[in-house]
Amino acid sequence: MFWTRFNPFSNRVWNDLQQLQGEMFRWFDRPHWGVAAFPAVNVWEDGDSLHVEAELPGLQLEDLEIFVTGNNQLTIKGERKQQTPEKASEHRLEWHYGSFVRTLTLPFPVDDRKVNARLENGVLRIELPKHEAARPRRIPVKA
């Protein structure tokens, strides 16, 4: 006699469930576009370093202070100065002026002597090389 029994943990159903679970976790892992503290930052990581980007239009290098403390705390501090011309009336004010400070805790220690920052067309780009201990190390496999 031939019959099939419903088995929720049969291979196919189980695989589908696992796939669904994987997709849900991926959705939560994905970076979300959201507003946090000023300035908003985008952070990329590659094998050797961390790349931090922030939009800071109207700022010059001398308006900015960038420092790394305790190997893994990056602080961006600065001030956006008001450019209002004298004896002017305001029609529209969407800009914001003033000082800001933001500290980011980095996911691994960085080499604070090799940090490199550039400000170009109002976009700040900071490159933070990983500390020797945090770098991925290739292990040679001997035959």
Partner: protein, 131 residues
């Protein structure tokens, strides 16, 4: 610690514009001031090089368009708080502006447009004579 008196602007997507290029267009943050001689327009265009700004005046409208240079990113994104994209905005200009003398400059991602008032629109001091 110094207090944070700056906030991140919510980016506005310019959806009613037909684009010939993929990617998003954002409306830049703009300040407009008026003095006796001119209107002054300041727009935030972070990531836009001065050569990539297209500023046009036609049919009484000032069109500002800024292209962000595609920047290659290494590795993978681990924290994303803002989106990059080009900028686009249109302003209606009153005819009292002398369109031939409009001047613009761009520095540190900020576009400054000087819109001089036409002679006829400038305020004139009227002297009151004693009799």
């Amino acid at each position: 610690m110094a207090e944070n008196n700056l906030t991140v602007a919510q980016r506005t997507d310019t959806t009613n514009v037909e684009t010939t290029r993929n990617g998003k267009y954002f409306t830049p943050r703009v300040d407009i001031f008026e003095t006796d001689g001119e209107l002054l327009l300041l727009a935030d265009l972070p990531g836009v090089a001065p050569g990539d700004i297209d500023l046009r005046y036609e049919n009484g409208e000032l069109v500002v368009q800024g292209k962000v240079q595609p920047h290659e990113h290494k590795g993978h994104l681990i924290l994303g708080e803002y989106e990059e994209g080009d900028f686009y905005c249109v302003f209606q200009i009153h005819e009292s502006i002398d369109a031939a003398r409009i001047e613009a400059e761009c520095k540190n991602g900020v576009l400054t447009v000087h819109l001089p008032k036409a002679e006829a629109a400038k305020p004139k001091q009227v002297t009151v004579k004693a009799k």
